[in-house]
Amino acid sequence: MIAEVLISAAFLTGTGIILSALLVFAEKKILNYGPCTIDINNGEKKYTVTGGTSLLASLAANDIFIPSACGGRGSCAYCKVSVLEGGGVISPVEEPYLSDEERKQQVRLSCQVKVRNDLKIKIPKELFSVKKFRGILEHKKPLTHDILELRIQLVEPDSIDFTAGRYIQLESKEYKGKDAVIRAYSISSSPSDKTHIELIIRRVPDGICTTWVFDHLKEKEEVTFSGPHGEFNLSDTDAPIICIAGGSGMAPIRSILRDMKEKGIMRPTTYFFGALTQNDLFYVSELQKLAEEHPWFTHIPALSNEPEDSGWQGERGLITNVVAKHFPDTSKHEAYLCGSPGMINACVQVLTKGGMPEDRIFYDKFA
């Protein structure tokens, strides 16, 4: 009886080990593509990597960080790059994420393109300056019941250069069976503070990353992120500015406003802050102070759900109606928006109705 048990156990273990060993061996032999070169932007940069891994991972190993939120599973579609040569055919995983226009430009999901031979790719130049950062959470301060301010002190590298309006990609850590994820948050601090960044994060019910930030991340803990990403920033025209953002969408606007103050840019700026009730407003005194000290800046908070008898003296109603009321003619202005896709689409509609050309509306959509 015991011999039988031992024999079967030995047999199964043996078979398992032999089969695994064969597979490991086969993987080394068969999936060995040797060194491959990745040519970026027509010779601007060249890297030699060992073939067999994804383009996303190969680039990351050479300190080029393509935005990616799903960790290479092919479900977020952030990691798009143009693969001009050697990318092979589009895989079924990529199919649903690529538009006809993108196919023409040979756009691929870099997490799904395996480096099997020499590649020629094209990426936005600013990705060269994206770095991976390690920092310490200096503080975590509630701004409203569901919005937090995070201040992160940079450790390695210990300083960051960015244009106001950029975002970073924060990596959450694993907790309670949830995978680590990467999520984008705009920097709300001023670019002149090179050793710290500040973020404004709103709790998303059941959100993997925000739940981690709100319930698991503690002060003095280590955090990692990559950045700066994005193309959202102040243009270099003299047009008067309309900013519209609600909730955590204030982050890039706050960074831009502080930057303007420090650099002495005095373009007339009106900031519409949309919220439900007075309890959802934050940084009120900071913005009021800015408005008092700088005549070019006007702050207009608008509440859509404030009780009638609360004594609120400011604007009421939907942010779009308030904007239309203040600026019936928007043809001379530029607009900077940050918020949910629904809010942005509604604002774009109102602004273009007022005469603003669409190419003067800049926005960051956060789904």
């Binding site: 047999f11 199964l12 089969l19 597979l23 086969a26 099997r116």
Partner: protein, 202 residues
């Protein structure tokens, strides 16, 4: 296990193939491999892709498992470990094939590659490997049996894919759409396949 059939005559081989593909259709007569079938049969294209991968894997693993069974498990008197051993062999084989296809034929990998991991746990394949033990087949007949079984599955899922493509263009009651109507179609198809039963006994 009974003694192998007499000779490898052409007629025997055709009979083994037809009986495995039609009278003993693994999907419609035995109802095995239903999960991936329900999942992937929305279109004929993908059905053909997955079906082809299944044919290849059933035939190869039936042959492989036959060798493992007769030359390893029987001499060691470990027949009762056949189920777990077969699963390991199938899983390893599929992994191996995936690597080879990926390396040497990117086109084929794109057509079949994504289906291969789905197959690892397809019970139709384990089913074929287990059923062959009840048959009096030698090595070659086993291979044909696997080929036939795989073809039967391919045939059934392609039929189903075609019907589902048509059905998608019609309006269905809400409660029936999706898996509901698919299971009913599979039921009707399998009734049709009952007509084959008893035609061949091998």
């Amino acid at each position: 296990m009974a003694a192998p059939l007499d000779g490898n005559s052409f007629a025997t081989i055709v009979l083994v193939f037809i009986s495995a593909a039609f009278t003993d259709n693994i999907l419609l007569a035995r109802f095995l491999g239903m999960c991936s079938c329900l999942g992937v049969s929305k279109k004929v294209d993908t059905s053909i892709g997955l079906g082809a991968a299944v044919i290849f894997v059933t035939a190869s693993t039936a042959a492989l498992n036959y060798l493992v069974y007769t030359h390893l498990l029987v001499p060691l008197h470990l027949e009762y470990l056949r189920l777990i051993t077969f699963i390991m062999v199938i899983a390893a084989f599929v992994q191996f094939v995936e690597m080879v296809v990926e390396r040497f034929s990117p086109t084929l990998y794109n057509a079949l590659g994504i289906f291969l991991p789905l197959i690892t746990v397809n019970c139709a394949i384990l089913g074929i490997s287990l059923f062959m033990l009840n048959k009096p087949y030698g090595f070659f007949e086993t291979f044909i049996f696997g080929l036939g079984g795989g073809f039967g599955w391919f045939f059934a899922i392609t039929l189903l894919g075609g019907i589902r493509e048509k059905i998608n263009e019609t309006v269905l009651p809400k409660g029936l759409a999706g898996p509901g109507i698919t299971l009913i179609i599979i039921g009707i198809l399998s009734l049709a396949f009952v007509g084959f039963s008893g035609m061949i006994k091998i």
